[in-house]
Symmetry: C2
Subunit: 651 residues, 2 copies
């Protein structure tokens, strides 16, 4: 039949009255005469005109929505509206039929929810064709941008043995047979037998440091699912501890100066719990829990971090139990089912609880491994030799988040640059975002026009006040035309504190002072109401950011901040998170110790600070969030071909 | 200090006598005067000339290998040999020291093995700088090639619920706590109690179909680690069965017509075992195993698929055991430890063996999931709407292969094209390979020159006859200048059969006839000795290829082949594997049934053949093999930043 030409090329061709061969899928066939043919190369359909009077009626009947056909004919100027050219068919071959009684996609509007269920076919709709062509352009634009600047594309590992960042819950990767996991011998019983006597003495002395030093290190080593809370009135401090990560605990045990190591570990593990949607509780003064007023204080303090019902339970237990020994134990799943306040009882329970220890030497990699949550640390290794690198690969979070903004599997772009400070970093991120948005606008005008129209139709369903002020195209153009607003976290807090919604108590989380993390409502206020453009927030409190961020000098108000930067986009929220990295070995080590990051596991990372360290910076860009922004799609599950989220790994 | 310029740009600059700022790492510092500075942007070092007489001796002392420095100075024409320009330093700042007593990388030759152990630092060597710059160029060239042709880059899922391709052992992805996996109740005991009586009767009748129909479906449902072998003399057939995949087995049980489903499943599972380096055994005539001669026949038949020692064990057992009831049961790990030949004994054993059933509804995705072995099937879904797509992402094999050619985690490129036949497919693959090789040659001449020299030095260590006839650059150029040799599998077998090594019995696996898979030695003979260029083999026997490949008409010799194509490269072996896909629903279904691929699990895949099917094709290109070829590196672990292989997930 001759060489096939793609519809995009054909529609852009200046020539007419030439013979062409086109292949594609029938979108519609109307009046027994006009086929709208699409081959995925463009959003536009090609009109194929059928000489129905001279065509076998049996063939006409097979020209149904979804059928694959091959057409040879003449490309001619079109007389009809809506297209410049059309093809007068000479010969039509049906390559694959599509039974209209069964084909799930009909030429009508389907809901996004329905299409999500048939994600294997949704590529065939105009909406998803447009989305995935735009996604393609954005992905390539990312590469083009970095290649033009001499960056090296680095494939950081997907399977990793460390969860050093503590960025959230991870997926285990294993070849262990779940029906019969290999276990090591029961270390717990041995530990307990040896220390039972010593333990009782110390319990009576209320010296819990012993518990940590001698017995707990054994317990920790072997119990992966237990949260410890240790209250100690004298020391005005309490500990909570999840021994979630076997390797960290082994590290802990190996370390001689155990007690000093425990405190930072606890904080770090806290952070980890909070991110995994369990609960968090910060260090606080352990005032007399019997008094109602201090109970109230405690309550307010804790409220930010604990679900109300959970806190109620604790406080009421505290009040009603005068023999409280200040040791609490929870099973993680569900963590409330085992809340105990008597240490002897706890110890008894522990003796009967499973205390096995998985023997990972039987696993494929000889150790526990998981799916990466970020390639940053490995990326830094590359940057400290190649100057500028970027990653672009899948990352994973096993968080039970059923939202329109989270996926269990998503793609991330993480550049790392030697000799960059935070300003360079922000400049690069802003340039990248503008470049890729412009690239998509230039490359996919029809797709974005179509998606703009789609969004407009969708917005019409909303009440007037909820509709966007700008169309999708306008929003994208606006991003290109304006500098992103840059300000510090401290400045942002001042703005938010003085803001109308805060004063009128419209925020769900009122801004009370410096130090807390910003909620989505705060970010949206800054971006959508106050500045009305993309915003870069910098210099966040050290307490709420990762260990590897460069520490600023403590300011006049005693605030400790790090050289972090988050880019906030309208409708999306955080699209980029980055920082200048802490290149000073002593500062980095100090922070790691404070946060309980095990040094031994990160020796390789620390080596970059030991040998030829230099100022450097980097950031992470969530690719699906970017695609959401450029396509205007509200649900992140609609911008990745086959989304993975809790209870869903279809196709 | 002014704007930094990268060394690559500086060395290419035409200007001299201008002030510049350069930053990078000291490679060497000789005569207290000449710094060789590298910043990763190029293989070449910049010579920085230090005015040592007017420089603080303390600073000079810190100019050690690996130190990070910032230099401002004058770019001047160089008087020395080896460089056109150099920088006369005005000011040198030490950004990060590198203690020469401790820094593992010294200015001398390190072994690749040693560098693999410090993979976090090996980027800083000339060899690995070159490798990863070339890898970067190849990766980008892949994107450029496909983008130029209007292909859509599609991100297929990494976590999948199906192992439909059966491409080998997979990694489980789970959030299940290995210390305490959730189990369903014990179905096995119930099954056995109910069927014990019936079972004995049937065993006496030698009617094993009952076993499959009634009891085994229960066993299968619950035992994930058992290999069944069922011999049935009357039916002249035996079955082996691994119930490795819970969902397939559930499917099996759900199916009413159980027995007819079992046979193909067995074949498929066989294939799976063979690929995972366990063992394989094909359907064979179950002749009288008591006779020595038939034992010998069996032996020869099996030898290709089983390790010799394993086969010996089976045959000798068969011979020595006259009460053989022809049911064999092995535990998969290690599979030999439980080989039984008495069905009653087996049933007893089964009763006491663990028969729990993991409750995957407690897992993150509500089902068992694993890491993808290929994005092809999902890629086809995209192609059947967007015409031309490609993937470029990580894939995984949990195979215990400690070779220089295998990784547990590697990157693959998988294009899928609607309306392509096998010739189009081969043309595209050949064009792609030539394009990316040319791109690297054009973009990284210094790196490839360096790697060519490196390889030449390495080859000098080898005996004369083992040395390559061509240098690396020559080999790459040769690939560009010559068409790949295309021939069928059948033609290749004829060549191999008549070849000198075959006649002189030099092949470890002699070529006896049509139908067996080619070994690496055969592929190397064809590529390196016979044709002396890249070879594309097509039309392989249907039996040794995957279910989705398009079936050819049976030829005059009764040979059944499929439209497969493998591209073989010198020194690398298979670098591309692809095929025209079977687009005919009936043929595809028939083949799936023959091979025991569960239809229900692949309904979504079959939908592409139900609605608007069309001829299409695709292939997979192993990215690391490509990088190996272009860099001349012998070990695949040296061409990916952080290799994953058995017992290794460092960094």
């Amino acid at each position: 039949m001759g060489q096939r030409i793609k519809i995009k090329a054909l529609l852009e061709s200046e020539q007419t009255d030439i013979s062409v061969v086109v292949k594609g899928w029938v979108r519609t066939f109307r009046n027994n005469q006009f086929i709208a043919l699409n081959d995925g190369s463009t959003n536009s359909n090609l009109q194929v005109v059928v000489d129905f009077e001279n065509t076998d009626p049996a063939l006409l009947k097979r020209l149904t929505t979804g059928a694959a056909i091959s057409v040879s004919g003449l490309l001619v100027a079109s007389l009809g509206k809506g297209q410049k050219v059309e093809v007068k068919a000479k010969e039509i071959e049906i390559l694959g039929d599509s039974d209209p009684e069964k084909y799930p996609l009909q030429p009508k509007k389907h809901s996004l929810e329905f299409l999500r269920e048939i994600a294997h076919l949704r590529f065939r709709t105009s909406t998803f064709g447009a989305i995935f062509r735009v996604r393609n352009s954005l992905a390539f634009a990312v590469h083009q941008f970095f290649q033009d600047r001499g960056f090296i594309y680095l494939h950081t590992p997907i399977i990793t043995a460390s969860d050093a960042e503590g960025a959230g819950e991870t997926f285990h990767v294993t070849t262990i047979d779940l029906l019969n996991p290999p276990y090591k011998s029961d270390v717990f019983d041995i530990a307990l037998t040896n220390y039972q006597d010593k333990l009782s003495k110390h319990i009576n002395d209320q010296d819990f440091s012993f518990l940590l030093n001698e017995v707990e290190k054994k317990l920790l080593q072997i119990n992966s699912n237990i949260i410890f809370e240790i209250f100690n009135k004298n020391k005005v401090r309490f500990f909570d501890l999840i021994s979630a990560d076997e390797s960290q605990l082994r590290e802990l045990v190996r370390n001689h100066n155990l007690f000093s190591e425990v405190e930072p570990l606890i904080k770090r593990l806290y952070l980890k719990i909070s991110k995994s949607n369990f609960f968090i509780r910060k260090e606080s003064n352990d005032t007399d829990e019997q008094s109602a007023s201090s109970g109230a204080t405690k309550k307010r303090k804790i409220t930010n971090y604990l679900p109300e019902w959970f806190h109620e339970k604790i406080v009421s237990n505290m009040k009603s139990n005068p023999t409280l020994t200040r040791v609490h134990l929870y099973k993680q799943y569900p963590f409330l089912s085992l809340s105990f306040y008597n240490i002897k009882w706890v110890i008894e329970k522990l003796k009967t609880s499973p205390s096995r220890y998985v023997d990972y030497s039987k696993d494929f990699f000889d150790k526990a491994t998981n799916l990466t949550v970020s390639g940053q640390l490995e990326g830094e290794l590359g940057a400290m030799a190649l100057s500028d690198i970027y990653t672009f690969g899948p990352t994973f979070r096993a968080e039970n988040s059923n939202t329109t903004r989270h996926l269990a599997e998503f793609w991330m772009i993480e550049p790392e640059m030697a000799f960059y400070d935070l300003d360079d970093n922000m400049d690069l991120a802003e340039a990248l975002l503008k470049y890729v948005i412009k690239y998509a606008l230039d490359k996919n005008p029809e797709d974005i026009e179509f998606l703009t129209q789609r969004l407009q139709d969708e917005e019409k369903q909303k009440p007037q006040q909820d509709r966007s002020e700008m169309s999708l195209t306008e929003k994208l153009q606006f991003c290109l035309d304006n500098n992103f607003e840059r300000l510090t976290y401290t400045e942002a807090i001042d703005i938010l504190k003085e803001s109308t919604p805060n004063k009128k108590k419209k925020f769900q989380y009122p801004i009370e002072g410096w130090g807390t993390d910003l909620q989505s409502e705060h970010e949206r206020y800054l971006v959508e109401k106050h500045f009305k453009k993309p915003v870069i927030l910098t210099d966040y409190p050290k307490q709420i950011k990762a260990f590897y961020m460069r520490q600023n000098e403590t300011d006049a108000n005693g605030h400790e901040t790090v050289r972090a930067m988050d880019i906030l986009f309208p409708g999306i929220g955080e699209i980029v998170g980055g920082s200048q990295r802490e290149e000073r070995l002593d500062k980095l080590l100090q922070r790691m110790r404070e946060m309980g990051i095990p040094e031994k596991e990160l020796e390789w990372y620390l080596d970059t600070r030991r040998y030829g360290t230099c100022p450097h910076a980097g950031f992470g860009l969530g690719f699906e969030r970017l695609v959401q922004f450029v396509t205007g799609m509200g649900n992140i599950r609609d911008v990745i071909p086959f989304p993975r989220f809790p209870k869903n790994a279809e196709f």
